[in-house]
Subunit: 372 residues, 2 copies
Amino acid sequence: MTEFSYCMPSRIVLGKGSTARLKQYIQGDRVLIICDPFLYQSGAAERIGANLEGCTVSYFHAIEPNPSCESVDAAAEAARALGAQTVVGIGGGSSMDVSKIVSCLAGDEGSIYDYYSGGTRTLSPRTVRLICIPTTAGTGSEVTNVGVFTNKKKGIKMPFVTDQFWPDVALLDPELTYSLPPAVTASTGMDAFCHAIEAYWNKESQPICDALAVEAMRLVLAHIKAAYDDGNSETAREQMQLASLLAGVAFSQTRTTGIHAVSFPLTTEYGASHGTACSITLPAFIRISGEGAQAKMDRLCAALGYESIPQFADAVEALMVSMNMPTRLSQLGVQEDALEHIAQVGLGAAIIQLTPAVMNQETVTALLRSIL
Amino acid sequence: MTEFSYCMPSRIVLGKGSTARLKQYIQGDRVLIICDPFLYQSGAAERIGANLEGCTVSYFHAIEPNPSCESVDAAAEAARALGAQTVVGIGGGSSMDVSKIVSCLAGDEGSIYDYYSGGTRTLSPRTVRLICIPTTAGTGSEVTNVGVFTNKKKGIKMPFVTDQFWPDVALLDPELTYSLPPAVTASTGMDAFCHAIEAYWNKESQPICDALAVEAMRLVLAHIKAAYDDGNSETAREQMQLASLLAGVAFSQTRTTGIHAVSFPLTTEYGASHGTACSITLPAFIRISGEGAQAKMDRLCAALGYESIPQFADAVEALMVSMNMPTRLSQLGVQEDALEHIAQVGLGAAIIQLTPAVMNQETVTALLRSIL
């Protein structure tokens, strides 16, 4: 073990029906709730907001997938117009990510472009409270200090990392995930598994995160199929949300590795969902993980009940097949002549070098070819 | 699982030699270091302070075991006289506990008696930075929001709990523990084990803490004897300090149970060290833990490599014997006619009811009699 540093200052609350107690966590009485159009139109966001009796609650519900800086600025204007004292982000990664930067901009000046993607200003200390409420069990965004935004002017999507983005409260209510369709349960749940294993085998791994990551992997393997088969299973939904939380805390300190690096082109160029784009390479990355982390992977296999890395990889792949998830790149429409390009884009993400194996044009292309 | 809440906002840094980088964590340039006379006279505290080049560093080194409110007030006066911007507590529990309240009082008015043990004032938000550096591997005080102080006027020792007490930085340097005598290594290390198991079987247990507690117990069992046998073993010292840290984080959320409750009279009336007073009842509490937590204890035994609760308890007791620790109350001078009284005092601590077994005059006396 070398020196490690750990800091995760958000208060975590997890429990069935916990959103009913949202009011006890807010600051002031003017609250902006940020969500996507679906959550608003379905009434789900308003049901959560209805717990804020006596407060002035506004909704900004124009959050799109891969949220743009323009959406961020529009939401920040809404927060300023309201004089919001608390910003609540409800959703998958996108709405929570937007709520992070909006909670900062609400008490500050200017546009996100002033602070990010070429901007040179520094955010003032945040005065508006930030509460994140996930509606999937996967992103872990409620316990990270990262927001990912798309700069449409430059046509790029990139992360914004600052300690101002740690939510004051991560409020997890498994009931919000009951209505997720099976395919979303599968892809977001396997995204959580990727977060956990990428924290665990990470070259920047550390013992606190290791302990949480192992437990997260154990929980996903034990409960994801039950959540996929029966979305109303209280136990499976609760344990999957706990798994996503633990995995989120783990990778919030270590960052991710090759799986996430390679997922970016699969999402932007082939339209795969984030969870699908990650998990499709998961078995292949497990198979090569012994290269730099044999002893640690042996301990993981033992903890999860597998005899070897190949057996573990086969089991994960079989689990994915059992949930009708793609396990071959050709299922996403990838052709052999695109593999070099996908590897190249993946290698452009610095996190790929946190993978416990040599990552270069040759090795990454070979890995991709093995699952074509 | 019922609803749980978790919050541990301190930044944790652990690494051999990490105190050499103390300066990067302080605020301002006027620093008060709080320690006990031994750490000061041995030069250890000044060696740490020497890393604060360019700063004005003062030492308050009159901290006694079971620190009194009078010591707290004297240290607070020293902090105010210096205009301290950072307070650093170095030591076992006592010095770190004092540093917590002094970092608050330094920027506030009055005496600890105004805020605690009958005082009615509320501490203002803390403006002075607080850094805690443990010199044992056991108390976990560097990652709790609790200070324990003795009110000499009333003749009582009681905890002071406030979110103001979370250190900004918990800085753990295993090198500081190399010089601990074997008996202190054993008693403080087993105190850490008690923190972990009491967090795990606690009626207020929760999944994040469970994962950390299991890992803490695994580490103590794997490394305490090596640290006892060879105080300069880098690996053993590092892993024991990590174990103490993980256990500290775990019980910071759950509190402790019967082991700690019963330890209080054994310390105050029989002079046993805190770690000895706790661990002497540990095997007996393990033996009864199945009463309310059979399934959970079965999982723990499996994770730690034991076949049953009795086998686990026997192994812990044998480990203690191998380190020349007392395992019978009579070794502390306790006589049979005192058992009822010890049980009564232990039952006066509310935490005893967090034990996963019926705790009353009859059951606690019987437990004590079993290890007389």
